[in-house]
């Protein structure tokens, strides 16, 4: 007898095609019900906590909650200005995030870093331009992020002491949403260098850029399975945003969520058996978890 709990997703790896059949897991478990806008999900490395951006009562800020669901708590309750898109270091002790200092109708973005409990908060990369999407390298020694300091969004790294900024990409197109591979040797990112926003791959020094996805669709926010063999990403190739999987070679695409609602912000569980994501399938914006095999 198959029950929803025992049926795990059977991912028959299919060729990349916009209308590739989707094979869903059991119904995803819903972790939140408040409906307020959420994005940039991430599991803590010990799998016990989810970190995410939430707009609550008009304030965009970082929140945490137990990974099985429960009370949401602001990470940095003293911050009055918007801050978002947090990312844990591999040891789970530090979090990098974006701080937006408002000035009139403008904002001054910078990259901040704090302890996982919100203490010892400070600036890692001061505002120079648009500074966004910070990600710790797996070895914890550098931080990868997006900046427009040279004109348009490109990828950079900086030491965790805030020194030694290195530019990794230099293309007139937008390079966004970077993600280190678990072994730190590669970086997946979204780029519009082919004319449409697609998932790309390059080595960690910025060389050997290859395009992983094709088609007349928007592909974004790649995130690596902990085994480094697969990527989850967001795509509207099904007509609306869904979470898709593919191999690190850009093959065997499959739609994991396949729902008419907007499914975004995929985050792998540290053991790689579950994906958390944000979906509007319940009307508002809420966190769900789905098992994948």
């Amino acid at each position: 007898m198959f029950t929803p709990r025992t049926v795990l997703v059977l991912i028959t790896l299919l060729p990349a095609h916009p209308f590739a059949p989707s094979l869903k897991a059991e119904e995803p478990a819903r972790l939140t019900t408040d409906g307020s806008f959420k994005q940039n999900l991430q599991w803590s490395p010990d799998g016990k906590t989810l970190l995410f951006t939430r707009i609550h009562e008009g304030k965009m800020s970082l929140w945490t909650m137990p990974a099985e669901g429960g009370a949401m708590k602001r990470l940095l309750p003293d911050h009055k200005e918007p801050h978002f898109d947090g990312h844990y270091s591999k040891d789970g002790k530090r979090i990098v995030y974006v701080y937006d200092q408002l000035q009139g109708t403008d904002g001054k973005l910078r990259i901040n870093v704090c302890n996982a409990d919100g203490t010892d908060d400070g600036t890692l990369v001061p505002h120079k331009a648009f500074e966004e999407s910070p990600r710790f390298a797996p070895d914890g020694k550098r931080v990868l992020w997006v900046s427009t300091r040279d004109g348009n969004p490109d990828l950079y790294t900086v030491g965790t002491d805030g020194k030694d900024i290195k530019r990794l990409t230099n293309d007139p197109a937008y390079d966004l949403h970077p993600a280190f591979s678990p072994d730190g040797t590669q970086i997946a990112f979204a780029s519009g260098r082919s004319g449409r926003q697609k998932v790309h791959l390059m080595t960690a020094d910025g060389s050997k850029v290859t395009k992983l996805t094709d088609g007349e669709f928007l592909d974004a926010w790649p995130t690596w399975n902990p085994d480094g063999k697969r990527l989850a990403f967001v795509s509207n190739r099904s007509g609306n945003y869904d979470i898709w999987l593919m191999t690190s070679a850009g093959k065997e695409l499959v739609n994991v969520t396949a729902h008419k609602a907007q499914d975004t912000s995929p985050a792998w569980h540290p053991q790689g058996k579950k994906l958390a994501f944000v979906s509007t399938r319940g009307g508002g914006s809420d966190v769900y978890v789905i098992e994948v095999k």
């Binding site: 806008f37 609550h56 008009g58 408002l102 109708t105 648009f130 348009n152 928007l218 009307g283 508002g284």
Partner: protein, 462 residues
């Protein structure tokens, strides 16, 4: 020759010969140009619209990233988004609007709007009233002239003989705004109210918050008493009596305005209360609109129109900035334009406006309800060094549907980078004149309100 509004000063091009001929002919017949165009557009049947829903996209959405994409432009103009086909052959939308692209059989798109100011405060006044008079920009100095009434106030007054009469019939005020009062920074902008028509024609305001539901700022009801609970009239009256007692204790009883008095009267009207009672909607309907502030506000707008309100304005936010204290964050994307568009604003507008159009269509209300979505200006074609776009008054878009507007119409074209209209330059005054026309107002009625008709009816929409 009959002079129609500010026609000769509105655009650099001035009136075309054909327009002069029309004006001449119309004066011979004793009709204004607007009346003539109305007759031409609607034939003997007259105006179709009985109500208007204005979706006010405060902050100024980018025309390139929404409904006038330029896929052939250089990357630092066109931005990172692709385009998708609409139901009109050869016409494409930005790829973030797949649902609205499917509704282009019901929608008309104007791609050649321009306004006179790149200051939110002044452009907002122009957008809402059709005139810059009395508008106040960032420098805080009011422009010459008295502020004109909001379009909603004009429609409200012109479609009602007196507010008392209408309220006697349906118990509901004819002009509602859903959303906070519009601000630039900390300063409220001019042009959301009745102006010279009098405070009686100010909008009655509702606010919707996803966490707490519908609020009525004028009454500052106790937290526990939401409009969704208005069915309990005893409880409502008790709460209002308490509020009055508190006002009396504070020595403010005499200061209770006529406006507040009307608000109280309306809230005790079953018809009015039903208009903003979202608890009567199914969860599925609420989900379809999206559980965002804007989405549920669109649903409230539909309910109010059903209840007999002729003009409902939905404010996307009460401030222009994308990251602020309340609302869904404005469209003033000087930085992070593309990320905010992709993550929030585009999916929300796409879902909620599409749901509104479908719902009105399914209820057979779309023919009699004109829906207009527009902001105060557009955004700069050239992308700045913060992945954003600056203010751009010289070219922007509007979506119009229902109320006699023909779907599938694309009015006006912009140049190669959507910097300027390539043809058919149109203004907010033209949009306002078109809305007035759609709802059947004649220039005589406008003049009868003590106002000067302005703008030309965009006859290409009908």
């Amino acid at each position: 020759m009959l002079l129609v509004g500010n026609r000769t000063t509105r655009t650099c091009a001035g009136p075309h010969r054909r327009a002069f001929l029309q004006v001449g002919a119309s004066s011979v017949l004793g009709l204004s140009l607007a009346d003539l165009l109305r007759v031409r557009a609607n034939g003997a049947s007259g105006a179709k619209a009985k109500a208007v829903i204005l979706l006010w996209l405060w902050g100024g959405p980018s025309q390139l990233d929404t409904f006038d994409p330029k896929p052939g432009a250089a990357l630092d103009f066109r931005g990172p988004f692709g385009t998708i086909p609409t139901r009109v052959p050869g016409v494409r939308f930005g790829e973030l609007f797949p649902e609205l692209a499917k509704h282009t059989d019901k929608l008309a798109v104007i791609r050649s709007l321009r306004t006179l100011s790149n200051d939110h405060g002044i452009a907002g006044t122009i957008g809402l009233t059709g005139s810059a008079a009395g508008g106040t920009g960032l420098d805080g100095k009011p422009l010459q002239g008295s502020a004109r009434p909001a379009l909603g106030s004009v429609v409200a007054k012109a479609t009602q003989t007196t507010p008392q009469r209408k309220q006697g019939q349906s118990g509901i005020h004819p002009f509602w705004v859903i959303g906070g009062k519009l601000h630039q920074g900390k300063k409220a902008i001019i042009g959301e109210g009745g102006g010279p028509l009098g405070a009686a024609w100010d909008p009655f305001r509702l606010e919707y918050d996803p966490a707490t539901g519908t609020k009525i700022p004028a009454l500052q009801l106790p937290k526990e008493l939401t409009p969704e609970r208005m069915a309990d009239r005893q409880k409502l009256l008790g709460a209002l009596a308490n509020a009055d007692r508190r006002a009396s204790e504070l020595g403010a009883a005499g200061a209770l305005s006529e406006y507040r008095g009307r608000a109280l009267a309306m809230l005790t009207s079953t018809t009015a209360a039903a208009g903003f009672d979202l608890s009567k909607e199914t969860d599925a309907t609420k989900d379809t609109y999206g559980r965002t502030r804007f989405g549920q506000s669109c649903l409230l707008a539909r309910r109010l129109v059903e209840a007999g309100v002729p003009f409902v304005q939905v404010n996307w936010s009460d401030h222009v900035e994308a990251e602020e204290d309340s609302g869904d964050g404005g469209w003033d994307h000087h930085y992070r334009n593309f990320q905010i568009m992709q993550d929030r604003h585009a999916p929300w507008l796409d879902q909620s406006m599409s749901a509104l159009l479908s719902d009105l269509h399914d209820r057979k209300m779309l023919d009699s309800t004109l829906v207009l979505a527009v902001g105060e200006f557009g955004r700069s074609p050239k992308i700045n060094d913060k992945a954003g776009r600056e203010h751009h008054p010289d070219c922007y878009c509007a979506l119009v549907a229902g109320g006699g507007v023909k779907g599938g119409r694309f009015v006006g074209t912009s140049d190669k980078v959507a910097a300027k209209p390539a043809d058919t330059p149109l203004t907010p005054a033209d949009l306002n004149a078109t809305v007035q026309h759609a709802i059947g107002l004649t220039s005589e009625q406008i003049t009868g309100l003590g106002l000067t008709p302005a703008g030309r009816v965009i006859e290409e929409l009908f």
